[in-house]
Amino acid sequence: MSAVLFFIAAIGAIAGAIGVVVLRNPFYSVLALVSHLISLAALFLLLRAEFVAAGQVVVYAGAVMVLYVFVVAYVGGGEDLPTGGGLRILGPVFALALAVELCIALLGTGLKGISQKGAPYVAGFGSPEAIGKELLTKFLFPFEVASLLLLVAAIGAVVLARRRKGLEGDDEFLKTVHTPRSLFTGTMAEGVGVRTAPRGGED
């Protein structure tokens, strides 16, 4: 039974992944990723990681993807940009090579641990209680640091995307971005009068 569920979830995950990569419209890619995330949550449940699965659905699919949807709606889909250059072919080739390599590493080297079903199940494995206990004792420091990271990211996002004075035109922005060039760069040649200083404001 679990095998059937595994295959359904796995195929769903892979299909979603392929959909993200292949679909032209970014909005459709976002939707494909959402389905991929849901499938991944199912896989987590099969691995008895209940809390992580819940977190995946609530946080990842619920919050992060919603953010993505908002941004895609704001920015727009963009045109269908064809892939350029050699990476059109080399990209998938590299990815395929990497995949083959990883599979060989996983399956061909005789790792014993992964050919079983895993450690015997203990009641409360993967429960919020167990995770919470770990977070507050063994992984307290990463927990705190992660919260700090969240703070930094939030501030960063606000700074990056804030408006200054409503929608400005190009020249105002250009003025704020381009620092004025100094008239005198301080070389000896300029001091003596051999070479003139570069004209300010030129780019």
């Binding site: 892979i14 993200v20 991944l40 998938p92 079903k117 450690a119 770990e134 990463p142 927990f143």
Partner: protein, 99 residues
């Protein structure tokens, strides 16, 4: 199912994400593919936690989710800033940092 299956699935998702990063030109889609790669890592972590029988891997996966959330926030903020300044939303056009 043996843990190895989950790891193979994780590897495949990771490599699909790599292909996406290398081929797409829209930075938002590149970020999405980056999410794919992170999720593949999460899957591997949870699989290993099941293999060992403790929750270390799951906690790690939770922190990875936090990091992914932050990264998406900042990345999308960048894209919004780009859009605001009417720059092309195309990584091949945004190439001023060259040697």
């Amino acid at each position: 199912m043996a843990i190895g299956w989950y790891l193979v699935v994780s590897a495949m998702i990771f490599c699909i994400g790599v292909a996406g990063v290398l081929t797409r030109r829209n930075p938002m889609v590149i970020l999405l593919c980056l999410e794919l790669m992170l999720n593949a890592g999460n899957l591997a972590l949870v699989a290993f936690s099941r293999m060992h029988g403790n929750q270390d891997g799951q906690v790690f996966a939770l922190i990875v989710m936090v990091v992914a959330a932050c990264e998406v926030t900042v990345g999308l903020g960048l894209i919004v800033a780009l859009y605001r300044r009417r720059l092309p939303i195309d990584v091949d056009e945004l190439n001023e940092l060259h040697g």
